[in-house]
Point group: D3
Chain length 244, copies 6
């Protein structure tokens, strides 16, 4: 089984880290392909960045379809382009926020999200609503960290995130913490061990969900809202995106 | 006051029609600029098309900001890129689905939407939820029409839409019908006269809302979720989108 | 176009202030008529006051209909009698809470309301629910001020309201503040300038919405819930209210 | 214990009928006083009629308070003026829609409402939402009957209502039918016997709920939203309503 | 009329206390039978305890049916087995959380629950949702008390509960406090007198609701979700539970 | 990894079938143990049956904990005793309705459930609400089949279920069908092939989800609502259930 993990930003250090974490949890027969698109933002911290990460994601989906990829993971906590990607793909497409929230809802009564910048908290809440997970989400907490600080060796990022997770643990009456950025994937176990509460990394969960759906033969529905996009002309910079 | 209306698809016949309808309702001092982006899909009928219309929209916002545009209207019923556009703009940005649903909620107890393809109904419902208008929306009805059929002289489009509106009027216990596509903007009055029920074209309402907000000095909030996007590198095809 | 603004309380100093603010934002061709009914409470600070302001409102609607008024604004933040007034009127009727909340939902992710007495906060929340605006409303804050203190020259009202708005700005993570009383209409710009956040006065927004709907030919639906009241006998003090 | 039942319309034949039904279910020690106000509409079939029934209701509350009434029932299915009446009263005030829906939620999984005119269905749904009973309400069905047809001897009202109840029974998968008009109070048992499903008359339930709350010493909360109205001048036709 | 109150735990001191409180509010003609099942947990403080209290409840329902009981009260704030009991019973079955929340919704705008252990707060919130009462429930507060501490003479329980109620009164902007444990039934009046706010004991309310429904002839619907359980084999320890 | 699948009814033919289907999807290293409790109902078709299946489930959880089971699946579509089981277990516990609905929400916009008896539809809707999946569930359809008819060789069950699934496919605008009974597990593929739409069997999905959570080290949260039950006396028939 081939699972393609698309880190929608163009920061390959993060992509490699995501790929490693994914491989650690993948089943023996699963091939993990982790990529960044060759276009788009270096990090995703706004609706604007999200929107402009989507063409790159969709390009990777197209390449993936040609390469017989079985399922996709969108490895950014805003799950950008999830529904567009599902339209373009035959197999399942899983967002990491989606995956993490679903898992959290099965192992406890409620969770909090710990994410990067304040301005993205509203995006996380919107996803929670969209997936039906709002009722399980107690709080979305921002660390006031830029995404790329997570990539700087020696930054204070780990310490700051750990501290916010500790606040969540002490104040939010929760059963788990959902990490709100794909760039935190490698911190998951350390925080879990430090705090003694389940810490959920959406990348890992998404890989297992994708494997599960593929194993069960469950593909994206093509009869309704998620049918393949219609053929039509595209122009300018984006003309290569026309479905043919 | 300068209001820029962005038809996010690249079909200029529709853009011209939208511009005309907008000018018919604009106040004397309002300058209407109606454009299509120079990139993207010829019509928008899926999440995929929507997602790929957004870069063009954002490019037009950037051009508009440089040209001191006071407010923007996104003239596609899926309101693609609305929040990203708001981040990039100083003044208000109004979606036509948003505008039409808000107006409908003020003149009656409920409305139905009449739109093009079945597969976009879910998008309309999601917008209704997002704007808080779900409680006023009785039904979203599809005409099984492609968007571009609305542009073909002599097509059966008008007759089919009229018929669906009639069904809505007879079955849905509604006070108004919201037209679910910017390409229907010129049909609004004819249907209204034929059926004797308020028929709401989002383009017209959005122009008036945009004028109103500008007149009142209300701009997009820049303190939180809709602050300007952060400066960061963008690469590849989309590198010109980096905020500077 | 003639727009009648009904201040449902009988305090004409407030009515005049409301009329002035309305005229400042009205379009050139709009005639603003601001009135108080000749019956009812001197101020509205409870369900009881609201209920007893409604006959006066409906009397003014009747007079307005006879005088070919095009649209009405109910200038009390509880939007008393809104649906009854819509039944009695041909054209649109807009409540100032309704108007302010709708506008706030278009320029930011969320807003807080700053109102007078604690006991009216529940009324504001109920309106937010009714208009679908609950999801945008972060908090309803009371200033512990009586409505009529807003009319006393030299009162501490402005300072107290400003302080509560400042709290909202600092604590609520909002993009705008909605003023929760028609009597605050003249304070809007001063607070906005002091705090640097959008402050929304429902009177001004309602005037623009009313103008917009009239301009677009959108009238109150008369086919269903908001049809004209049926003819029937009324007795006693209220016998003149019978529809004939 | 003294319970005052206020039929908010001025049709005394209905008031007497309501009083009789109330007395049939009241406990031995309960004195039932059934009244119509001396002002207001002959029947209530719109927001307009509702709004104009409220002054009469509030006058009856005031008289009741002076006469040491222990609890009130508002005997119109729109529960007009419920919150205003609660402010003015020391003891409990129960609406018949409220009472009926609560009872229905305890004896089955869901109910339908059978009411008079189509245009009042929205009012019933709003009440269901307000009381938290929306989740139990499957359908609100109109009989296309004017309220006063219920008072005409020999009218087809009973047959028409029975037929609509039968439709509800057969189509709605419900456990009970809530009668949506106080004027149907005397039909309850006959329909129940004819159809073999619980048929709930709000008048009867409201009497028992009022008795229960009084018996338990539970009074309307006076600390917050439902505190007594403030003292202030009232003018014109309504000047006698000032709280003193 | 015979009403059976089932205290689902096996602590008879609590059962007796519950019975006494019930008798104090029952109508003259009402016979109160208060029992504990002969199987199950000594106290109920988790989903586990709740689940294992249900067989005992259902046994008592069966005995009650044989003894022509008219209605049942389940006297544990988690309302365990409510729907199963309704299936097995002919007459109404009322839970004390259900009863208390419904009453609270009629005498004020909102209430808080004061209960025993933190871990049961989620259960209370779930019930509030299920009964439609979530919109009235401001907060569920835990006292960190085990249920059985309420039964120990001289324990600090009363003082601790009183203190939590005082916090609720001061912080929650509520009109009443709902006691979240049947074992608090005897504390109700004392707290009410101490604090001057309505304090609602579900046992008392449930008795009055049960009496009311029986008096009105309203029984559990047997046409749908709450029909009698089907006949089928049961085995092992529970074989006597087979419906025959 | 050891996963225990508890068929909460005592019909071992169904248990064996469930075990076989589970083994077909399990990963190589997963040991599947499929059991029925030695107490309880032969089939589960009501709240009553559900409630009385729970002691058996909890007994199997206890046995499982002693046998170092890593995760549990409750293989009845009502997910009986899910939260009680989670309290008693260290590892994850997954209900098959929960599993199926979650999977359905990831591969399409909406699903319908096809279940056995009409009377259980309300249970399915309640679960959908509880898991946040209500927004994805278009319809719950009953086949009017008793559960045990699924076990009778040569019964019409398959044909009837297939027909109902076909209706769902044609009328509900869905992307997948969720089978609403563990006893249908073996019909999944045949229906899927017949109809060409994804048909989801909760048993299979639950196995993969359980494997995934175990693989990721995610256990049931023990800090709050799902902490181990407290030690306390249990009496009578159920005395062996006391936690020690």
């Amino acid at each position: 089984m081939k699972i393609k993990i698309i880190n929608p930003n163009t920061t390959w250090s993060m992509t490699r880290k995501i790929g490693q974490c994914a491989r650690q949890v993948a089943a023996p027969g699963t091939e993990i392909v982790a990529v960044s698109p060759d276009m788009g933002p270096a990090s995703i911290e706004s609706h604007y960045d999200e929107a402009l990460s989507v063409p790159g994601i969709l390009q990777e989906i197209r390449l993936g379809e040609a390469a017989a990829v079985d399922a996709y993971v969108i490895a950014c906590f805003g799950d950008p382009g999830l529904y567009a990607a599902r339209e373009a793909a035959r197999g399942p497409v899983i967002g990491i926020a989606e995956a993490a929230m679903h898992a959290a809802s099965m192992i406890g009564a409620s969770f909090s999200v710990v994410t990067t910048l304040e301005r993205t908290c509203g995006i996380a809440w919107h996803l929670a609503e969209r997936y039906g997970m709002q009722r399980f989400c107690r709080k979305v907490r921002a660390c006031k960290l830029n995404v790329l600080e997570l990539e700087q060796p020696g930054s204070a990022a780990y310490r700051i995130i750990l501290e916010e997770c500790r606040q969540a643990l002490q104040q939010d009456q929760i059963d788990s913490i959902v990490l709100g950025c794909a760039g935190m994937t490698d911190l998951c176990r350390a925080i879990e061990e430090e705090l003694g509460i389940a810490v959920i990394d959406g990348v890992a969960v998404a890989v297992k969900l994708a494997e599960s759906l593929v194993h069960l033969g469950l593909k994206t529905g093509k009869r309704g809202d998620l049918a393949y996009p219609l053929h039509k002309p595209y122009s300018g910079l984006l003309q290569s995106f026309a479905q043919t």
